[in-house]
Amino acid sequence: MTRDPPAAAITAAIGVALAELAERPAGEWPDALRARFPDDPALARQVLAWLHAQRAQAADRDALVLGDGARYEPGVRLDAGATASVWRAYDRKLRRNVAIKVFDAGAPAIEEILAEARAACEVTSEHVVRVFDVHDGESPYIVMELVGEHAPGTGALEPGASAATGRPRDLWEAVRWVRDVARGVHDAHLRNVFHRDLKPHNVLITPFSRRAKIADFGLAVFGTGRAARSRSADVEAGTDRAALRIAGTPGYMAPEQARGLGLALDPRDPADRATLVAVDVWGLGAIAHDLLSGHPPWPCSDGVEAWELAASGARPPPFPHRSPSGERLPARLAQIVDRALAARPGDRYPSASALADELHAVLGCRPTSFDRSPAARLALWSRRNPQLTVTAVVAVALAGMTFAAYAAVLHLEGQRAALAGEVRAVESDKDRLAEQARAARRELDETEANLRAQAAALDTLRGSLREAETEFHAIVQAREQAVRSASLATQALATVSSDRDVAEKTRDLYESFWTRARKEATDAGRDRDAAARDRDAARAERDQASKERDAARAAIGRTEHERDAARAERDRNAEARHQAEAEVAKLLGELTAAVGSDSVRPAALPVEASDPTTRGAVH
C-alpha cells in the first residue's frame, strides 16, 4: 500500500506544527492543533499522537536531568536494553565521568534495582565494574564507574565497549579477557554473588589497555547472611523450593538454567552453591566460545529458540578449529572450553578460579589439567623456556657428537690392529711373490726379445701398409678430383649450351632485323629518288616563278611610273580648276555689284559640270 504524497501545504503545516508544539507543554497541544487544523480533526489527532511519541522518546534523557537535583549532566547514550539504557554522564558534585543506567518507567521494581546495585557493590574486584550510587526515586537509576581510559595522545576520556562490540584482536586477547572475567566471577563468588548472565555483552573492555570488566548484575543471586535474593518478580514467590525460574540470555544459558533453577537457591547451601557456581562456569565457557568461534554456544535457528536448544540437552555445535580471524585454535584450549561447557554441572570446573588458572596456564605455556603426559609437559616447558631449551638442545647435541667421536676412535683402533696382521701376511707373500716375479721376469725378457723381432717385422709391414694407404688415399683423392672436374665440366657444358641457345636466338633475331632493315633501305632509296625528282621540278618551278616575279616587278615599276605621271597631271588640273573657280567668284562679285537689284539675278553656274576631266582625275 503506497500513500500519495500529501499536499505540500499540509506537509509544511504539519512540519511547522511539530516543530513549534514540541517545545510547548503537552496540555496545550490539543487546542493548538484544533486551531491549526480546524477542518481536519483526524489529522490533528495523528499529529497529537506523533508529538506524544516524540516526547516519550526524550523521557529517558529528561529523567537524568530531573533526578537528584540535576547532579548528573547527561552525555551520549552508550547502550540500550529492554528495560534500561546506559548513558555517559558527568557528576557535577564529584567532577568525574560516570555511567548511569536509567530504568524505563514501569520496568523492574525498585527492590530489584536495589538488589542489582547491592549485588555489584558486594564485589570488590579490579575485574568488576564498580557501583557508586543508586537513585530509588521516581526515576530510578544506578550510577556506575565509566569503563574508559584517557587517550594517550589527546588525554580525552574514551569510553570502552562491550566484548560483543569490540571483538578481541586475536585469540590470546580473548583468552586473557576470559581469564580476567573468570577471576572477577570468582571474586564475586567469594562474596556469595552469582552473576547468572555472563555473555560478551556484559563484559566491558577498556579502550587502550584492553582489560575486561564484568557489568550488569541484574540477574545475580546473592546472599548476605540472610535469605538469598535475586532480581525478579519471582523473588516474591521464592519461598516455594519446588518452583522453577528461567533467567539468562538464551544463546548463553547453561542447560540446567534453561530448564529452570529453583527460586530459592541459597548460596550458603553447598548443593545450591555448586549449582550456581556451575551456571557461572558455563557462562564463562560460553563467553570463551563466542570470543573464540564468533558465535554463542546456542545459535538461533528457525523454529527452535536458543533457550529451547539449551534446555533440550543437546550438545553445543562442535568447537571450530580456527578463530574468526583465521588463527588455529589450540586443542588444549578447545578442551578447556569443552569442559567449561560440559552438559553435566558436575563435569565442569569446580570453580571459576580453576578455569582462570587453566586459562592462565595456557597463556603462560604451562601444563593444564589436560597436559598429563611427560612429552606434553616437556613441549610446554620448552615453549616456556626457549633459551634453556636451545641450550639443552645444544648440550645434548654436543654430548652426542662427543660420544659418536669416541666410538669412531675405538672403531678405527680395531681396524688398525686388523690391518697390521694383514700387513704381515702380505709381506711374507711379497717375498714369495718376488721370486716368482724374478722367474717371470726372465720369461718376460725372452718373450720381449721375441716380441721385439716380431715388432720389427710388424713395423716393416706397417710401413708398407702406410705407403699403400698413402697411394690409396692419393687415388681416392684423384678420383674425387676427377669427379669434381667432370661435375664442373658438365656444369660448364650446360652453361655453354645455354649460352649457345641464347646466341642462336639472338642471331635469328638480328637476321630478321637485318632483312627488315634492308627492305626499309630499298624503300628509302626509292623515296629518295622520287624526292630528288620532286626537288628538281620544284627548283624549275621556282626559277620560273622567279622570272615571273621579276617581270611582275618590272610591270609594277612601270605602273608606278604611270601613276606618278597621272598624279602630277591631276595636281595640275586641280590648280587650274582653283584658278577658274576664283575667276568665276570674282566675276560673280563684280556682276552683283553692277546690277544692284533683285530683278537682275544671275543664273547659277554648274561648276562641277564645267570641268568633268578634273573631277575624274581627282578620284
Binding site: 503506497t2 490539543p30 516519550a56 524505563d104 518507567a105 525478579s232 533457550w307
Partner: protein, 184 residues
Amino acid sequence: MADDQIAQQLERIIRRVKRSMNYRGSYSTRDILGSLVARWVQSGEWERLKQLPDDQRHLGESVRRFILDRFDQLRRRGKREELDDAAIALPDDQVLAEMIELAELRAWIARQVAELAAGIVDARVRVPLAEPAEAGAILQLHLGGKTQREIAAARGVSLGLVNKRIAEGTSYLAVLQGIERGVL
C-alpha cells in the same frame, strides 16, 4: 472522547510500542513464557479461538497446555536423573491475555518495520516520514539488538541521524497502532 482520555490511550499505546521494540538480551521467566506464547499464536490456535464465543474460548487452558507440553518435551530430552517435580509457575488468564497481546504486537511491529524497510508507508498515516526505507532499515537493526552506535557504524551515518530515524519510526508505528486500535 475527551482530550485527556485520548492522551491516556495514546500514552498506553506508545509505551507498549516502545517496550515491544526494545531488544531483549536477557530473558526472565516471563520472557521465556512470552516466546512460547508467541509460538502458540503462530500455531494458528489463537485465530481458531477468536472465532468462538468468549465463554467457549478457554484461552488460558489452551495456552497453558501448549506451554506445559513444550516444557515436558524439553525435560524428557534431558537425563532422567535431572528430572524432578519442580515446575515453572504459569501465569493467570489475565497475564496470559497480556502476553498474547504483546506477542501479536511484536509480530505486527516486525511486519510494519519490514514494509517500511521496503519503502512502503501506510496511506492512513498522514504525518510525513522523511526517509521511510532508511527508518525501516535502522529499526530492523534496532529490533535485532544493535546499539545505536553499531547501527551508525554499520550504515555509515551519524549517531544523531540514527537516533532521529528511530524516533520517527517509533512515532510512525505508534500513530499506526493508534489508527488500528481506533483511537485515531
